[in-house]
Symmetry: C2
Subunit: 286 residues, 2 copies
């Protein structure tokens, strides 16, 4: 019998997954949306194999359910639909925080497996009309399985990641995920919005190069989503911001001092760290 | 008689200009390097039409000289070679600061025109082997002409910018250039190195997405160059960094407060500014 992957929420990420997962093994890809207009768009643009408003009916047939909704909605959804998931099925999500999600997933009955997932991909846009199937290529997929998660389900997630074109699959704990993501992702967004808060923003048009575009791209963020992500990870994020402000202040002081030799040594140290990190810029990726 | 554009310095920018300007009107492109190995590389890779070590001979034949060397070297070069430029010729540069350069250009005899130039393009690499002719496509070219600069020379620079594929030509004063560039360019580099100074840097591999790659790309900077750029623009840059740290602190405080409504309002304001700015991310450029 045909198996089904049900994607709940056909926004930027859910829509992109529905496009990218088409043809994966012998799964049929079923998208669930809240608005008829989204269902119509999905059907007319081939976003997934099917699309429906009937979430409960879809969940009951799902071998895999991927929740592609905001963190707080994910937690609420798990509680509201805890009895609707098919016994033996796998439920996963795409949220950029994992501790709150894994706690929320405790409401599920023991017969339903839950593996936290964070595909490190996206753009500054939102909505199904910005979805594209190539989104996950070269991205890391982070998994936070439970101790009791079924190895076959972890293996399935790994095959899905490969099919999506992900660079690799990284398994970790929710706490470690949230601590690191505060630095690599959340802080980048706070930097971007803070740079755009400068009153010079609009007068600087005509004077920006790729460094400005690269740094500020994500400032046009999805506000409800990021309000939740930042709030649910506030202690880790504020700690990262404190470190950043200290590091910025150290540069500010050495530049203000006029000590060119000290500045050169400091830049040598930092730039060497970046080179050791050996991480290509986004425009250098295929 | 054939006209000549002499490019002094065949590094990343000079090499890219020598590649990109080939075939421009009836100019022959002559590269000048300090090392025979660079001359050999230029000749064997078609970087420009000619390459030589003999700077003085080249300058005497140059209708246009483009200095593609570090800011302090540019100032020193203008003083050392002030008598070598052909009368009636145009001299220009590519430095990311303009006040110090325009002051340095005062040593030139009145018969030699100087127009400051800053093509807002580049990568985090350096050296002729990383040069590529497409570098300037979609970039802004900023010019700081003198009041007495010849209109025919300004028009020539504009045609050159068009040939390079630049998005537009922006004319301004050295002081205004330096004040804005502190924000749009220099501060992006200080952010990038400061982010890389975080002790989490190496443990975060596997957890970075495009926002991290975009923000930190330029941290692998050319240390001597950026030491000079930051030092020569220290007052403007430190003022920008102070504003940034205030804006970061404001976000830090509202996140720490737990007031989600206030955070949502603040994010709405900043992200709306970014959308109004309407500046595509680097990966969205053709």
């Amino acid at each position: 019998m045909e198996k089904k992957i049900v994607i709940v929420g056909l926004g930027l990420i859910g829509g992109s997954l529905a496009l990218a997962l088409k043809g994966f093994e012998d799964y049929r890809i079923v998208g669930v949306a809240r608005r008829q207009a989204t269902v119509d768009y999905a059907l007319s643009h081939g976003v997934g194999d099917e699309a429906t408003l009937d979430v409960t009916a879809a969940l009951r047939q799902a071998d895999v359910t991927i929740l592609c909704i905001n963190p707080e909605d994910t937690v609420d959804f798990l509680a509201a639909h805890r009895e609707d998931f098919k016994p033996g099925s796998l439920v996963t999500d795409v949220c950029g925080i994992k501790t709150a999600i894994m706690e929320g997933a405790r409401v599920l009955p023991p017969s339903v497996d839950f593996i936290g997932c964070h595909p490190m991909a996206g753009t500054e846009f939102s909505g199904i009309e910005h979805a594209f199937g190539e989104m996950f290529r070269h991205s890391h997929m982070i998994l936070t399985p439970r101790e009791e998660s079924h190895p076959a389900h972890i293996a399935l997630m790994e095959r899905m990641a490969e099919y999506l074109g992900c660079r690799d699959v990284v398994k970790t704990t929710p706490a470690r995920h949230d601590a690191i993501i505060a630095y690599t992702s959340q802080m980048m967004h706070i930097i971007a919005v803070s740079v755009c808060d400068d009153e010079s923003l609009f007068t600087c048009k005509g004077y920006e190069g790729s460094s400005f575009r690269g740094c500020t791209r994500v400032a046009a963020l999805d506000v409800p989503l990021w309000t939740q992500l930042f709030s649910l990870n506030a202690p880790a994020l504020t700690a990262c911001l404190d470190t950043l402000m200290e590091n910025l202040k150290a540069y500010r002081e050495v530049i203000a001092s006029g000590d060119e030799k000290a500045l050169e040594e400091k830049l040598t140290w930092s730039s060497q760290r970046k080179r050791e990190m050996d991480l290509p810029g986004p425009d250098l990726l295929a």
